[in-house]
Symmetry: C2
Subunit: 221 residues, 2 copies
Amino acid sequence: MSQMQNVERQLREMILGLEIGPGERLTERWIESRFGASRTPVRAALLRLETEGLIGRDGRGWAVAPINLAELGQIAVYREAVEVAAVRLTAALEDRSGIDVIAAMLDSCDAETPREEWHRVGMDFHIELARLSGNEFLLRAVRDAMTRLSRARWLEVRDEAALGRAWAEHHAILDAVKGGDAEKAARLLSNHIAGSRDRLVTSLHDDRRGLRARGFAVVAA
Amino acid sequence: MSQMQNVERQLREMILGLEIGPGERLTERWIESRFGASRTPVRAALLRLETEGLIGRDGRGWAVAPINLAELGQIAVYREAVEVAAVRLTAALEDRSGIDVIAAMLDSCDAETPREEWHRVGMDFHIELARLSGNEFLLRAVRDAMTRLSRARWLEVRDEAALGRAWAEHHAILDAVKGGDAEKAARLLSNHIAGSRDRLVTSLHDDRRGLRARGFAVVAA
DNA sequence: GATACCATTTTGGTATACCAAACTGGTATC
DNA sequence: GATACCAGTTTGGTATACCAAAATGGTATC
């Protein structure tokens, strides 16, 4: 694998894993020495991560994107538009057997599953559901939205009950799609996204002092 | 303005203006000498244009994105999802005076207006309409879709009647939004996009031999 | 103590040298 | 004539040197 892809992947993991906090400044020279690559691949990685919304310009330099509560609300609206469109397409397909694979993915999580895995599966559910639509643009949009939501969802304070509720909602959506009931699937998905947004924004808003104490930049809604 | 932004802007204009044909190969050295910049800003521009979908990888090198009829259909579905979502948001706003500005923009076109201007206004209509929603992600999505459709729409064979019909449809959509009738606006916009897609794909499909004769790569649906 | 100012350092933007892999064109071989 | 092969060239990937602008930090001045 090329250095460019290597730097991009490792830097993305550090940002998503909060090893580099939201709002933290980045210098090309630091990344260069941190990953043992020269500035050329570093700059390529920065340009790519900028389009993913994980980093942004801070004056002349670079900074990890802050947690932006207003942005989370806008992303939820965007998600709803594209995910509902995707699920309607999928519900209209003759072959909806791909649903079973996603259901199996959900079922691979149980009480002993680490939180990190719940997190990953929770995002992959939406991405894989969008993939079934066969529309590359809807898929890309969902993947992009999930990437931007990833850190916020990780910071969200979620209890067992919330995880279980999301799991049940996911299964209910799959059942509706599998049954070809596009309207029901759309309604369930819509409510799921709205509820997810509310819990997420509320949790982060309530915990914003704690987050700032950890050195994370949090932009109010 | 920096060299990077300069190269990016000029190269984008050459691609959108079909001065470099769909499918044509690009080398970093050619761009370097063409615009009098070194490879560093050239590479930055290429990476950006790649995320816009205007260029892509062709093996190890670069190539201008071909006209892809299947992709045009997928973009139409994507557009419908995000544009309808945006228009529903806008129809629910208290202050919808921004509509008047867009209407004035439409009215600035008449029989003497050059085709290039009709083209630009036709895309800006959708972009500005999405902007009124206030949702950055919906706006970005529409702008991105329009960029990807730009070359295809330019190559489309459109008569006076088609331009007039699109103009009337645009006005009808604005009227519905202004009146706060989200359902009507959504329906009109949905039909407008579907009709636009059908005419576009049919036109390019019928003319695909002519396009290929001009050296343009056209990927069938 | 606050502030304006200057020297130094840091940083992103740019140009360029070098390399390995891929491509090209010609040639020898069958 | 087709094909396998090889030398030369081209190309993207990478490292690095240089620059101007910005940030930094210390100091003189009030």
